[in-house]
Symmetry: C2
Subunit: 342 residues, 2 copies
Amino acid sequence: MPLIAAATGATPSRRPVWFMRQAGRSLPEYREIRAGRGMLESCFEAELVAEITMQPVRRHDTDAAILFSDIVVPLRAAGIDLDIVAGTGPVIASPIRTAADVAGMPRLDPSSVGAVTSAIGMIIDELPDEKALIGFAGAPFTLASYLIEGGPSRTYERTKAMMLAEPDLWHSFMGRIADITIAFLRAQLDAGVDALQLFDSWAGALSKAQYDEYVAPHSARVMAEVAEYGVPRIHFGVGTGELLNSMTDVGVEVIGVDWRIPLDEAADRVGHRVAIQGNLDPTVLLAGDDAVLEREIDKVVAAGERAIAAGTPGHIFNLGHGVMPNTDAGAVTRAVELIHAL
Amino acid sequence: MPLIAAATGATPSRRPVWFMRQAGRSLPEYREIRAGRGMLESCFEAELVAEITMQPVRRHDTDAAILFSDIVVPLRAAGIDLDIVAGTGPVIASPIRTAADVAGMPRLDPSSVGAVTSAIGMIIDELPDEKALIGFAGAPFTLASYLIEGGPSRTYERTKAMMLAEPDLWHSFMGRIADITIAFLRAQLDAGVDALQLFDSWAGALSKAQYDEYVAPHSARVMAEVAEYGVPRIHFGVGTGELLNSMTDVGVEVIGVDWRIPLDEAADRVGHRVAIQGNLDPTVLLAGDDAVLEREIDKVVAAGERAIAAGTPGHIFNLGHGVMPNTDAGAVTRAVELIHAL
């Protein structure tokens, strides 16, 4: 598998590429199959999950499928009352803010994500041998931010207030979330995913000092608890230029990079210890101009090659964040062709 | 004036401190005076502007007043149909996206911001001699993002699409916005402000390469066109760790830093060429814990002192972004006391 080769310092048979949120609204076939079905319920229907996961692989010939799911799926499966509201994001019915709330946090029984593990079996049956299936979960900090704020936030003010003013409560809470994340990842690994990505999407809201003290120990425990499976572990967040080293230190094989930092510079920052993934600005796919697409892809590929020449074990092409919903599917297909042709 | 001393490499008589958005919802007297009045209309009532500008200086004893206004005020004054919607932000009636839209961009007649310049006169009359009045404007990129997207955005997708796919149109548009920004700043400088801050709040959404090519030339022109006034020029954006050098290169005396980067590291990055401003995480004021407040202020002050010891001309204490609306005013007063006592 080219993706696994690039992640582990081997030589891939072709330049591996996949896109965060490649399964989603940019695809007409996705919009059709999702019509009239809620996001969260869709994540608990095994056949639908498998079908949606496969759609972008069939259409774009990406080198990996990423499980169609959402970072709040294991929280819902554990029994937390929440929904994913179109146009808003996750909304938590009763935000978790007190010691009693934290003490009442449920645990994840792997059988409650049976739809996800069944879907993984179906995907593996269909997926060509050379393509990897990537499992994923939300990292404790990003999940904590939703659970504490009650939904998406621009400021993370209650989250940081708990972190700073009630560190014992914070660490206990993060530990409980990490338990759920670990159980969810292990269920996916037991079902056979080839790699995993831990999304700490909003970690970039933190300073390095905050990340190291309040977040890193919990993400490190997640990574340690899945290490025995021996699959590549990818770690990604947005706006994490200051955190790349810390996010590598938690124990990963691949560090994801957003578009703000050239890949070779990011690779230098982490001392070429791990493979890199990224980092085309997702808006480039929206610009509607083939020459721009080609030029910007060239830049990312060239930076990846400079990183490898300097000692980085490999480069997995991706965006710097997810495919935006109103991206034209044709532009995504074209991007994959260009990347594979280079 | 301690603020001007710190900005210009002299020795301030005390450690200067002010807070972005110090005039605003955190103050009971602000909520009272704004009751029943829209944000935008308030910015065009000279006496109200002067009163609101003075409120935090009286209550907290900060070393500077910052003009109560909004970055879209000069756009509205120039004739662009927009409003500031509570809980949302600026909303533009007819977003600017085509060559015809750009050609139709109005210019700013300084007389249309007469309320602002009158307010400045009133503030100067009341402000104690040792306190600075800071004028401000939005930088062309951040204003462009509102005008193109039609309001606040998390992705800046249309903005970046124009930038990437229609660079000539983009530069022409940015030039027209820069004209308005320059006219607005010159009006404030003519009225007597002691310093100015250019807010490129959302520049952190860009890579350094994007910033350097599409944004820096226009911000540099703004800075050059106000240089003759000889007042300190402060430049600030959120999440700009990768951009600090570029944002300094446009021609400033002070670089503002958000909370993601320790001040001494930020100062190193810009080669100690300019004074630094920042960078307490605004959520620290919300944590509701005096010991945390003191500890975090100590860290910022210590980093500022290390920067100065390494050659940086000065440090102006501030937050890493604005005061959040539900901050307790007492915590802000306490912060100023702590900073002045250190």
